[in-house]
């Protein structure tokens, strides 16, 4: 019995330790104690009532006084190593561009391989070392950045890919869905089986957008060529996992007879996989993702998506230097840059002179030999010309870019044109003349996700029906929680 008692005692001690420790900590932290002494009239003057109020000082609300510094010190926090040749690598390319461009007044540094829970301490360290502009480049850092923004009201934070903002914290993102649509056009032309594959990192709105855009493009061309297009999707549940990406690609090819692949995963594993198959005599084509991956699969890469964060970084830092962005007015800064901004592009290779190879020359003759109709105009043209036409249509939207930098103007992004009534310029285009996400579209809601106006309050797999001519807005795209009907989700591995 004595033994049992001592065990119980040990556990109780442990719990007491926790409680005591907690309270000890509670009372050792500095607290602001305001003592108010009020003398009440009408009662004997000896009575004094003392009211003590204890205020916790966890988030000081200091007034921000800010002048643009002579030299601006900016820091980047990366979730991966800069050598990953994916996400962090491309952010660092962006950093190097601005570091060279603004070398007279900009000092940059970066910290790589930082995990979410390490990021606050790294931010503390950066602030202590005098960095006043901090870019946190992973969704995982969102809440930590948000907290630190409250803690350091004089520091400007910019968080990539999130949705939380504060007076001194803005957000930015470069979105690839339009490029995926262009990739889809080519996939629809080149697939023989009509079955195309997609290796998805996570089924979050961003990736769902990519998949749908890709599927819409593929169907637009494929259907005209008499193919029954189906997009098979396997989710791998991680942003970076070459092994899983390879396994998913293998499943798509072997089990679903897929012959064109696209993916969202931060490595070239899928490209390498396809290149290997090619060397074994099986032709499966692929689109490079995010960074120029052409060199990993020169025989199989058709095209791909490229990102150019320097477009956004240049804009932000120039505005910081000009005093336009200052701590206190970032609440609405929300870059959502598309093809028109140049922050994303179509291609899989960057030539040494900096120009982009949009489509692998190997595939250009085939694409030029296939004829389809432009569904908007009914005009007959080659797939190559169609891709280029759509590319131009989405790229040429000169009025769009100012709207894409502010949270409050995102609403206006889907306005197609404004009539002026002026004699020579009756209408002014705002949004691109082509938008992949334009009705009629049919789809189904994803189980367990109900954010958009199409799926909120509806059961899982409920039907989505977007009427002809309706263009999806920024919010619709941000909350996308449905697949178009010819996407077949095969689950997660």
């Amino acid at each position: 019995m004595a033994r049992v008692t001592s065990y119980v005692l040990a556990i109780v001690l442990l719990i007491i330790g926790i409680v005591v420790g907690y309270y000890a900590g509670y009372y050792t932290t500095p607290q602001k104690t305001v003592t108010m002494t009020t003398t009440l009239t009408g009662v004997p003057s000896t009575t004094t009532v003392t009211v003590t109020t204890t205020l916790q000082t966890s988030q000081p609300s200091t007034q921000v006084s800010y002048t643009v510094p002579e030299k601006i010190k900016a820091a980047w926090i990366y979730v991966g190593p800069v050598g990953d040749f994916g996400w962090s690598y491309m952010h660092d390319v962006g950093r190097r561009v601005v570091a060279g461009l603004f070398k007279d007044w900009l000092e940059t540094t970066y910290v790589e391989q930082v995990s979410a829970d390490q990021s606050p301490a790294v931010m503390d360290d950066l602030v202590r070392k005098g960095y006043t502009v901090i870019f946190t480049t992973s969704f995982d850092f969102m809440d930590q950045t948000y907290d630190k923004a409250h803690q350091y009201p004089n520091i400007m934070f910019f968080h990539c890919s999130g949705y939380k903002r504060a007076p001194n914290m803005g957000t930015y993102f470069a979105d690839l869905y339009q490029v995926y649509y262009l990739n889809g056009l080519m996939a629809g032309a080149l697939t023989k089986t009509g079955k195309i594959g997609y290796v998805a990192a996570h089924t979050i709105p961003e990736v769902i957008r990519h998949i749908n855009a890709y599927a819409i493009g593929a169907k637009e061309v494929g259907e005209q060529l008499g193919k029954n297009i189906t997009v098979y999707v396997i989710e791998i549940g991680e942003w970076f996992n070459p092994d899983k990406a390879r396994a998913a690609a293998d499943t798509l090819v072997k089990q679903f007879n897929v012959d064109v692949l696209a993916f969202t995963e931060d490595s070239a594993a899928t490209v390498e996989y396809a290149e290997n198959l090619y060397k074994q005599g099986k032709e499966v084509y692929v689109f490079s993702h995010y960074s120029p991956m052409y060199e990993w699969g020169p025989d199989v890469v058709i095209s791909g998506q490229l990102v150019r964060w320097e477009v956004i970084y240049t804009d932000i830092l120039a505005k910081v230097k000009a005093g336009i962005y200052r701590p206190g007015n970032l609440e609405n800064v929300d870059y959502w840059y598309l093809l028109n901004s140049g922050a994303v592009d179509l291609g899989a290779y960057v030539y040494p002179n900096g120009s982009i190879m949009h489509i692998n020359p190997k595939f250009i003759p085939i694409l030029k030999s296939i004829k389809v109709k432009d569904v908007l105009t009914g005009e007959e043209l080659t797939v190559y010309d169609l891709v280029m036409r759509r590319y131009q249509q989405m790229k040429e939207a000169p009025l769009l870019q100012p709207l894409q930098g502010q949270a409050i103007t995102h609403l206006l992004e889907s306005i197609e044109n404004i009539s002026t009534g002026a004699s020579h310029v009756p209408t002014v285009l705002i949004a691109p003349s082509f938008e992949p996400f334009t009705g009629p579209l049919k789809g189904y809601c994803l189980p367990g996700m109900h954010y958009s106006r199409f799926c909120t309050g509806k059961p899982d797999n409920a039907e989505v029906d977007i009427p002809a001519g309706e263009r999806l807005t920024h919010d619709d795209l941000w909350n996308m929680d449905f697949f178009v009907s010819w996407v077949a989700f095969q689950g997660r591995i």
């Binding site: 033994r3 001592s6 926790i18 930082v114 931010m123 969704f139």
Partner: protein, 353 residues
């Protein structure tokens, strides 16, 4: 030809401690010199970065995870309970804390919420350690293997929760839960990213566990378990019960650390590998650095934490040595501990014939 001999020696405890500190200081100086040569930075700059890493209060960020876990593990290891599952237990602690904070009314009660969350986190951590202990006790299945595998199961459980039933309503499909209520978060020290409450609790835990291991009969018996099961049995103490206790305490403390990670750092549940972050594995090393003595685990976790800070500090600003070299330096500084340990236990005798 000179002969080099490695000879055992015994120094007093104080001399040992002093010698270790001296070896580490000299090693740090050497590391700084080599780094400055390799990167072309001045020795002064590198030394300042080193010094700042060791004096940066943010070491407590890492200490508050590493210390409780490593202290629990040092208890388990000294009882020959090879719990390699701290990572999974930590993840389960995180799940427990999130559950209390997000899905029970307790989560909205100030002060009560974090305490309840931490207690439940410890409970779930212990619970996750239990199957391996039971399998060992009743089926003789190697606990090192089972606990190691359970880590990955824990990862998947957390992944399932954040991608399935617990996925937040306001997270745009990202695999995380919603943020836990303000009331259940533990406030951090102004200008830093750790919580004093947690730090004090962690040190209290280390001291309490030291007293338990070295002053109570059950604690001494736990340590004896590392030498001989038969001895413990012949002293009238059930080796199975002790084994179970060792497992449960180490699991509970890893769970506690997991709870801390949620309440102080993440403030929501994220995917398993992100919550765990490998701290459960690092803690194994920390507990051995501390010689399995809870009191020595305190400086060991401090040293390891400073190395974390250093690995980032070295990358920042004009030092900017990059992740690869900074990892090399950190590796060197860890090896330094082994060298210090070796030099205090052995001396090198060189004789010329």
């Amino acid at each position: 030809m000179p002969k080099v001999a490695i000879v055992k020696r015994e120094l007093s405890k104080i001399a040992t401690a002093l010698a270790k500190v001296l070896v580490i200081l000299l090693g740090l100086l050497l590391a700084a010199t080599l780094t400055s040569i390799a990167t072309g930075n001045t020795l002064k700059l590198i030394s300042i970065t080193l010094f700042q890493s060791f004096t940066n209060l943010n070491v407590f960020v890492y200490i508050s995870t590493l210390l409780p876990t490593a202290v629990g593990l040092s208890l388990a290891f000294s009882a020959n309970a090879w719990n390699l599952g701290a990572e999974g237990q930590l993840v389960f602690g995180a799940i427990g804390a999130t559950f209390i904070a997000l899905f029970t009314p307790l989560g909205r009660q100030e002060i009560i919420a974090p305490i309840a969350a931490l207690i439940f986190a410890s409970f779930l951590g212990a619970l996750w350690a239990l199957p391996a202990a039971l399998l060992k006790m009743f089926r003789g299945i190697n606990e090192a293997l089972t606990t190691l595998l359970m880590n990955f199961i824990a990862y998947y459980v957390a992944n399932y929760l954040v991608k399935g039933p617990w996925r937040g309503r306001t997270v745009y499909g990202y695999p995380t839960t919603d943020m836990i209520p303000i009331e259940s978060r533990i406030p951090t020290a102004p200008g830093y990213s750790f919580s004093w409450y947690v730090v004090v609790a962690c040190i209290a835990i280390a001291v309490l566990l030291y007293l338990f291991l070295y002053r109570t009969r059950v604690g001494i018996a736990l340590r004896a378990l590392g030498s001989s099961i038969h001895f413990v049995e012949l002293s009238g103490l059930s080796s199975k019960k002790l084994f179970l206790i060792a497992f449960l305490i180490s699991g509970a403390l890893a769970g506690f650390a997991g709870g801390v990670k949620i309440l102080v750092y993440h403030k929501k549940l994220v995917e398993g590998p992100i919550v765990g972050g490998g701290y459960g594995f690092t803690s194994i090393m920390v507990s051995w650095l501390g010689g399995l003595n809870p009191l020595f685990v305190i400086p060991a976790s401090y040293y390891t934490a400073a190395l974390y800070i250093l690995s980032f500090g070295l990358q920042i600003g004009s030092a900017a040595v990059g992740d690869a070299l900074s990892s090399t330096i950190v590796g060197f500084l860890l090896a330094l501990i082994l060298l210090a340990d070796f030099l205090t236990r052995y001396r090198i005798v060189i004789r010329f014939r």
